[in-house]
């Protein structure tokens, strides 16, 4: 176990290094610069700006200076949000995105697990077919279609919920729901399949044979095992939620990392882009490690070398 954790952590460092380097270098090598998007600015001013943001000299020297600051935890100053450090922006935007993504993941579990279990217990009955049709529909409606449709319906037409923004509880409902739906659908399908497998195992037959009521068999024995694959799914799910949040944050005008990231890429802000990529990748690598450790602790059948 310790070797697994150590090896993953050691492997994570070169991975993060490659990802951040690639982002920074691509952003600097690509034509166009972060200071003159639309209007031309005089070369003297441009040179002064580049010096101020430590982006003067050759790309290689800029990169080395950036990496030098990075190892000390300094993500440099954003070129797009002048006078603000990337650390500062991340500190402000990260909690928003974590709340949005965390709530969406929680909601996906709260919809997905019961729906999947409900379908599995009624395998091949009408209710099962209907639940699985709903799940497939949930997987097939992209969030960028669902979200604006719901905004039109509940925001513009019915005036039940605000169209955009972030802060009050009623502003949280629509974005969280839209972000959660595809993952709720995937979790429902996963839970159903896994529960069907578990219900065929010997220990369930034993539990039934000794006369346990069906609810107890289901909730106390079967479901506990059946949700284990969800731990393995949490890595891909979180990656998906992260990606999905880019669209949701843009659409609902939520001041999270996703929106900052999109703006930074479009405006060629190398510091912001590389900083966000670093945080995203580190988060996902870490969550994948956590889920692998969890699954090997909880599931005796899984052996990690």
């Amino acid at each position: 176990m310790t070797t697994l954790i150590l090896r993953r952590l050691i492997l994570a460092i070169p991975t993060l290094f490659i990802v951040v380097s690639l982002t920074f270098l691509l952003m600097r090598w690509a034509p166009g610069n972060p200071f003159s998007n639309e209007r031309k600015i005089p070369p003297e001013i441009l040179a002064e700006l580049e010096k101020q943001y430590d982006l003067n000299g050759t790309v290689t020297s800029q990169y080395l200076r950036y990496m030098g600051k990075l190892v000390h935890g300094d993500l440099s100053i954003s070129t797009q949000y002048r006078n603000r450090t990337v650390n500062d922006i991340l500190a402000q935007a990260l909690p928003v995105s974590v709340l949005l993504g965390g709530l969406a993941y929680l909601l996906a579990l709260m919809i997905g697990i019961p729906l999947g279990a409900y379908a599995a217990v009624r395998q091949d009955q009408k209710a099962d077919r209907l639940a699985m049709l709903a799940a497939l529909l949930g997987l097939s409606v992209p969030s960028f279609v669902l979200a604006p449709l719901l905004v039109m319906l509940f925001g513009v037409k019915l005036h039940w919920l605000p169209v955009a923004g972030w802060g009050s509880p009623d502003q949280i409902i629509l974005p969280v729901f839209c972000l959660a739906i595809p993952f709720a659908a995937a979790i429902a399908r996963l839970t159903r399949g896994s529960l069907l497998d578990v219900l065929n195992l010997d220990f369930i037959r034993t539990a039934r044979a000794k006369g346990l009521p069906e609810e107890e068999v289901l909730y106390r024995h079967a479901l506990k095992i059946a949700i284990l694959p969800l731990i393995s799914y949490s890595g891909p799910a979180l990656a998906g939620i992260l990606t999905g949040s880019l669209v949701i944050e843009t659409l609902f005008d939520i001041p999270g990392i996703g929106r900052f990231f999109i703006n930074s890429v479009l405006n060629r802000d190398p510091m912001m882009s590389a900083g966000v990529i670093l945080v995203f990748s580190a988060f996902l690598l870490f969550m994948n490690l956590v889920s692998d450790v969890l699954i090997s602790l909880l599931d005796r059948r899984v052996k990690i070398e």
């Binding site: 690639l22 690509a30 960028f144 513009v156 990606t243 669209v247 999109i262 890429v265 479009l266 990529i277």
Partner: protein
């Protein structure tokens, strides 16, 4: 039994799947010939902007007075093209990677699979955003250099990088199947007879993987379609006046305002895309039940 025959029998036995196959084929046909039948040009601007659906314009018109039906069908063409070519890229990489990894086994296999593991835990679409945004000019230059200047650079970027994000699952599945197949008598026998590795892989292994390849092919197409629309939605997909479902949906979402509802701008492209995705996912699921040797879920 041949994979093709199994597919046909499955479709005949399950009318639902037949319906989905019908929907997919109709959308493809509409995308190919539809834009020529509507009587409008997808890029032609007119004075009749933001008209709601009528007999003249079945899907209404957009902000620039362009016929939305023509644009939706033209967008289908773009979305399907990116999805098909991207799936081809992902298929080629995934199948060869998985086959080599499974066939070689041992150390090579464990290194190759560790790489897949790492790539799995990276936010691949977010890296694609960086690549598409920064590599546009170099790709444009390269295309012009190769006398291929008429090909939109964004199209090339989307096809290559989206193809390269979606091959991981395919590689894993193919590797698993290869591991099982290579222990079977017919492969062992041809190896014992001294068949070359290449011949063994392509003549004996590959045909036995065709069923599972078909299943994941059907499931990769909708995945890339969603990815493409996602990038187009964020402004990193095909560029105007060209359109894909993603850009049309983005236009529809952008037109939301508190005064007037332009619902058709969103509902028609979004609905058509959702219907196509649903049909493809349904088809992939149904084929997996019959063709995936790992059994029915």
């Amino acid at each position: 039994m041949k994979t093709f025959q199994i597919v046909l029998r499955t479709l005949v036995q399950k009318p639902w799947l037949m319906l989905c196959a019908g929907i997919v084929i109709s959308v493809v046909l509409l995308a190919l010939i539809g834009p020529h039948l509507t009587g409008y040009n997808y890029a032609a601007i007119s004075d009749t902007s933001l008209q709601s659906p009528s007999f003249a314009h079945w899907f209404g018109t957009d902000l620039n007075g362009r016929d939305l039906l023509t644009r939706t069908l033209y967008g289908a063409r773009m979305s399907l093209l990116v999805a098909a070519l991207g799936t081809f890229v992902s298929l080629t990489v995934g199948v060869s990677y998985g086959m080599i990894s499974g066939y070689m086994g041992g150390r090579v296999d464990s290194i190759m699979m560790r790489l897949v593991e790492i790539l799995y835990s990276l936010p691949s679409l977010i890296l694609v955003i960086i690549l598409v945004a920064t590599l546009e000019k170099p790709v444009t230059a390269a295309l012009q250099h190769l006398w291929l200047g008429s090909i939109p650079p964004r199209l090339v970027l989307l096809v290559v990088f989206l193809g390269l994000t979606e091959w991981l699952t395919m590689a894993r599945i193919i590797r698993g199947q290869t591991l099982v197949l290579k222990e079977q008598a017919f492969i062992q026998a041809s190896a014992a007879l001294g068949q070359a590795h290449g011949r063994l892989l392509f003549r004996h292994l590959l045909p036995n993987l065709s069923g599972i390849i078909l299943v994941y092919l059907t499931l990769t197409i909708p995945a890339i379609m969603i990815d493409e629309a996602f990038l187009s939605f964020l402004g990193l997909g095909v560029q105007p006046p060209q359109a894909s479902w993603g850009t049309l949906i983005a236009d529809g979402a952008g037109a939301i305002n508190p005064i007037q509802l332009y619902w058709w701008l969103l509902l028609f492209p979004g609905g058509m895309m959702t219907m196509t995705l649903l049909a493809l996912n349904f088809l992939g699921d149904g084929l997996r039940d019959t063709l995936d040797p790992r059994g029915k879920k």
